[in-house]
Symmetry: C2
């Protein structure tokens, strides 16, 4: 390429690279309250780490439960993500919900008011939760510094485009900002399948 | 609104309305060759109409088969769409494929070369197809007149945006033109779930 084009090309490439967002696919999983953990796994039960997740402090635990839907179909070995939280919340894809007899609402994590009841079966006990099963609304985590660089605010809805032969642009992706959060978009398996995404990939914040 | 704005508003609305595309969701289904139909349902078997589909001449038949994957999991009552065709082809979502043990390739209908074998079970017989199971690549049917109006050519890849809280833009949507075809986009259940689409909806060709 000619010498005087180079700066413009470099600028264009930098513009794209600066707006790349890692995308990770959330398989079905749950978060759990300490008292529910004890009801499922016995008094004094703790989550034990299988592996760290991308967000600092978050981990996949060795502990799994069976999740039973209203039609009595079961997902076995649904993994608990740690650390323990203030609410117990099961996150399934819409397709998963259909399989166990639920029309899942798309909710941001933590917003479980009025959602369907669900049964959890652990090694040492069973709970019938009065509510707490959602389809997680797609979202992108980031630090305030990422927000400044990308020009977006906490809670804002943004557009993120995937690449590849089955490329889609996800609209209405909610920004969830936190001091300790790393830049990362979360999609569920339905969204990953629709876009033909593998486990780890990159999107472009438009 | 002021009188002199009205023509511009009407023009803008017309522009959008002109580019609306009906979107229908394809659940898992199959097309079938006449000889395979006879192997599954007995000599002289014919497809009988359950209901017409949106495309002229196409129909959902009363006939269903069980589809068995390599892991021996089964989808029961998978519907045959008529009329009979020159190839037998099973169309599943990517998620369906995972369930029965297949990593499905995204293919345009009819392009089954090198795809996985699959077992079909009918009322009167069973076939092990050497190949013929795909994930249907998203596409939009239209007539040549639609193509002229929308400014697109047969085989072209276009972008179609859905509306609603889980809006997505599907990129690389293949135009499949034919004299008898009606304007209609087909997505699979993964794509419908990702976009939060109901059975009948509208998208906007960008």
């Amino acid at each position: 390429m000619s010498a005087d084009l180079r700066p413009r090309v470099e600028q264009a490439v930098r513009h794209v690279v600066d707006r790349l967002v890692p995308i990770n696919v959330s398989a079905r999983h749950l978060h759990i309250r300490a008292d529910h953990l004890e009801m499922l796994f016995g008094p004094g039960a703790q989550l034990t780490k299988l592996r760290d997740l991308y967000q600092p402090g978050e981990f996949a635990s060795n502990e799994t439960v069976s999740v039973v839907g209203p039609n009595r179909r079961v997902f076995e070995r649904v993994r608990i993500l740690g650390p323990v939280r203030s609410i117990t919340q099961v996150e399934l894809s819409y397709n998963d919900g259909r399989y166990i007899g639920l029309e899942l609402p798309a909710r941001i994590s933590g917003d479980i008011e009025g959602t369907a009841p669900i049964v959890l079966i652990g090694l040492r006990g069973t709970i019938q939760l009065p509510q707490g099963v959602i389809r997680a609304l797609r979202h992108v985590h980031m630090s305030p510094a990422d927000g400044v660089r990308l020009g977006v605010a906490n809670g804002q809805l943004v557009n993120i485009k995937t690449v590849g032969p089955m490329s889609v642009t996800f609209h209405n992706v909610k920004v969830r900002m936190g001091d300790t959060l790393r830049l990362e978009m979360h999609v569920d398996t339905d969204e990953a399948n629709a876009a033909g995404l593998g486990t780890h990939t990159l999107g472009l914040l438009l």
